[in-house]
């Protein structure tokens, strides 16, 4: 047996799960899809005394059309999100990103809420949440609260969830009309975590850029928005020169890119520049610009 021993609870309601977390505090970990947590348990990098398995709680597995947003129950499997016709039609950026998450066998178990709460800076879903400005619904002892994506991701593998809180729902707002999007990720092998990746959107109005969003992942402590690049793009004509400038700005916005066996910090920074440029060009072409 690989994991260190832990007490195991499989509550049937969110309230019971929260009560268990309240009781055990920092000793407890929430088990959702388990595709990140169980490897950590097997390697004993995580040794929680208590595991609160939320897979048996009914009512956390749904995809709901809210009109201007799509809401996902936190325990919705990634494969269900990937296969959802609603998601493909209304949130094509999210659909595209799902296919980059590991492999089908992992997505069969992995959940949308689990990946977001895990807050891996090289994962796809946090970047999509940042770019679409997702809203997180969080249950705790005092009831529920909501958090914006910019506040949800705190640092490396750390979200704003308190030890006695559970993510129950995430809402992804739809993109406005005349908006193109792009998702580009570079990894050693398909299905691996990103060396660097970019999710971008571009909204056009009368031949110029009305709004732009650039999300970077795999390059810092969290998935982040390149806000200076976004400001630089607004009001400009969508052409190669401005996309090049935006790429340079996005790369400069990264504090300290990760440096590891897979890629140096310099390489990751340069990838952010190149991928931003490419993602903006693809977004513009999807938005119907003659860029």
């Amino acid at each position: 047996m690989k994991p260190a021993p832990f007490a195991y609870f499989d509550p049937r309601t969110v309230a019971d799960a929260v009560a268990l977390l309240e009781e055990h505090g920092m000793d407890a970990k929430v088990l959702a899809g388990g595709q990140s947590l169980v490897p950590l348990l097997n390697m004993r990098l995580a040794r929680p005394a208590v595991l609160v398995d939320i897979n048996r709680i009914d009512g956390l597995d749904y995809i709901r059309d809210d009109g201007d947003a799509i809401a996902f129950g936190a325990m919705t499997r990634q494969r269900a999100v990937e296969r959802s016709r609603l998601v493909r039609e209304k949130l094509p950026l999210l659909h595209e990103a799902m296919t980059f998450i590991a492999h089908p066998q992992i997505r069969n178990r992995g959940t949308i809420g689990g990946s977001l709460a895990h807050a891996d800076p090289a994962a796809e879903l946090p970047a999509i949440a940042q770019v679409l400005e997702a809203e997180f619904v969080i249950a705790g002892p005092g009831g529920t609260r909501t958090a914006a994506s910019k506040d949800f991701f705190v640092t490396y593998l750390t979200s704003c969830l308190e030890p006695n809180e559970i993510l129950t729902e995430v809402r992804f707002p739809l993109l406005p009309p005349s908006t193109g999007w792009s998702f580009i990720e570079l990894s050693r092998r398909h299905g691996d975590f990103a060396l660097a990746g970019v999710a971008a959107t571009l909204t056009l109005s009368g031949g110029s850029i009305a709004d732009a969003r650039v999300g970077l992942f795999g390059v810092g402590a969290t998935a982040l928005r390149a806000t200076e690049a976004e400001v630089l793009l607004r009001g400009q004509r969508p052409d190669a020169a401005i996309f090049e400038d935006a790429g340079t700005s996005a790369a400069a916005a990264i504090d300290e890119p990760l440096s590891d066996i897979h890629a140096s910090a310099e390489y990751r920074r340069d990838l952010a520049r190149v991928l931003t440029r490419r993602a903006l060009a693809e977004s513009a072409s999807r938005a119907g610009a003659a860029a």
């Binding site: 047996m1 690989k2 832990f6 007490a7 169980v38 897979n55 492999h103 089908p104 066998q105 092998r189």
Partner: protein, 166 residues
């Protein structure tokens, strides 16, 4: 007293599931992974343990028809589920068409990864009877083989799909 028993990390819990149509049950510690339950408690050693962190795919089994990694699931999470392992493929001494195609195309050499490949292919062909090469690659991208170089495995999947369609 009951509460104390519940927080004992070594406490044994009862688990039962269907494996290849047969009921299995056991008393296990919560930390028992599904693959260890299958191999040690059920004696079904066809499912292999490779990397034990969800990367190599050797431990892939079907749970309620879906391919999952049995090394990064707790056995307790399969309570009440219906599993299929590699032992569930062949019937009455006759290889399953996917197994036969792997043999015919030399889709294996040492065989360590093969049970996982077979289960991933099972899931693929159950929903895609005539998969494109891209669909095959997507379905098998999470299974690692160090012997074949994958081309014979691709051939085997195409052949199995063709035989299963007719």
């Amino acid at each position: 007293m009951i509460e104390q028993a519940r927080v004992d990390p070594y406490a044994k819990r009862r688990v039962s599931m269907l494996v290849n149509g047969q009921p299995y049950e056991g008393e296990i510690e919560a930390r028992t992974t599904l693959v260890d339950f299958l191999r040690i408690d059920c004696g079904l050693t066809g499912t292999h343990v490779g990397c034990e962190h969800g990367v190599c795919g050797a431990c892939t089994v079907l749970m309620d028809g879906q391919a999952v990694r049995s090394c990064i699931m707790l056995a307790l999470q399969a309570e009440g589920a219906s599993l299929t392992t590699v032992e569930g493929l062949a019937t009455e001494g006759e290889l399953h068409p996917i197994q036969q195609a792997f043999a015919d195309c030399h889709g294996l050499q040492c065989g360590f990864c093969t049970p996982g490949f077979l289960m991933s292919v099972s899931e693929l062909l159950s929903s895609h009877p005539d998969p494109s090469d891209d669909e095959i690659k997507d379905a098998l991208g999470g299974n690692v083989c160090r012997c074949t170089g994958y081309q014979q495995i691709m051939d085997a999947v195409r052949l199995a799909a063709e035989r299963m369609r007719t």
